[in-house]
Symmetry: C2
Subunit: 227 residues, 2 copies
Amino acid sequence: MHGLSVSTPPTDLRPLTRSAASQPLVHLADGLDLPGVAMPFLRNEEIYGQDEPAEFVYRVLSGTVRTCRQLADGRRQVEAFHLPGDVFGLECGAVHYASAEAVGDCEVALVRRAAVESAAHRDGTAARALWLLATGDLERVRRLTLTLARKGATERVASFLLAMAARSEGDVVDLSMSRNDLADHRGLTIETVSRTFTQLERCRMIALPSPRRVVLRDRRALAALDG
Amino acid sequence: MHGLSVSTPPTDLRPLTRSAASQPLVHLADGLDLPGVAMPFLRNEEIYGQDEPAEFVYRVLSGTVRTCRQLADGRRQVEAFHLPGDVFGLECGAVHYASAEAVGDCEVALVRRAAVESAAHRDGTAARALWLLATGDLERVRRLTLTLARKGATERVASFLLAMAARSEGDVVDLSMSRNDLADHRGLTIETVSRTFTQLERCRMIALPSPRRVVLRDRRALAALDG
DNA sequence: CGAGCGTTTGAACAGCGTCAAAACAAGTGG
DNA sequence: CCACTTGTTTTGACGCTGTTCAAACGCTCG
């Protein structure tokens, strides 16, 4: 699952191109373009559910998608946020490990997983692309475990902001997700996230023109907080 | 597989390149057996270092191996413990994400990564096996993030004990790792881990014949603590 | 204007970390 | 066999960080 755990894949927003079979081609990875369809989703709409059969692979065309895992008692962990260009929902097993939901209104491309797997079986290069997708996700999740295991609230928020900034232009970051989503991603409560924001603002490391808009004023100091 | 003699120093790997034909086969996954060599490591000896070129793939023959990632300030995160039969150190990128060290004296099989990759390129089944290895790691790390993000100390220790028990016979678990390793794996301190053990013992959920030997007396209660 | 939602802020609390010391085990040398 | 060392584990007292609970604030949209 391409995502925003820490490091960031290059955002490649090439438009859907027409294939012979009338379905547009979806770019899943370098050397792996397969026919699929685009689908719109509304804010908070579920794209697929945890433990549901994994029939499709997805690519974000616009908006933001979150993938979450839920515990029986309601505690929730947001695995990752997926921005335009990111591929998510690719499983090797039968079912989806997490659910996927639209953070805001968004558009997503669907590709049949069977098509992906048969392409990988035929073509060694496609197979390697698949492996690369998996290990990319792996590294991002690993970095997340390090953050969750060993870092304090300030470091957790700072590293998130830096990761988001790496996918934006300039120093202004528009957060598409709520404090709640952010807290569930960083293993904190919304109150702690909010307090950390205001604290970073008082330290002149960021500015907050509005709750969802963050300006990075001192990248160096933020990076020092990060590991 | 255990046949290779005593004194091949860790850094001298020339026998590998010389006589591939005479090397024993190492089982990396179903349908993926490749020639490699066995090597012994002493307690706490480094098998490979973080950010070092990833030239080999490894399989535990005996003992336990830990893979760790270290922050600049010394904070350490133990990604995983690898028990006999486990494959570790397989990377897609150029370097190792984490370092690997012997928890106790152990023996490990080494396979050239180039051999693995070329097998995967030729053979779709081998390629899928590689993908499966990566997604298996991915799922394990994902479960770890959930634990670290949302669970308390008791739950963290309980789920670890259950995971270890799943790889042992019966209800007795012999921990090969120190409290320190355990703490760095679960995102806790050694004091908290120790206190949690004695607390679980007082609740009659476990017995502690010795610090490293744990008897699970109430799996149900332990599982209830887990998510 | 008021309703509803998301965000911020405050005060009291709890859990885990920190520091310090004691208990324990295993190995070494006299 | 004992005294001594070294490393690991356990236990205790205390403080900090983040959570919980509660209330106020500030949007946006009827």
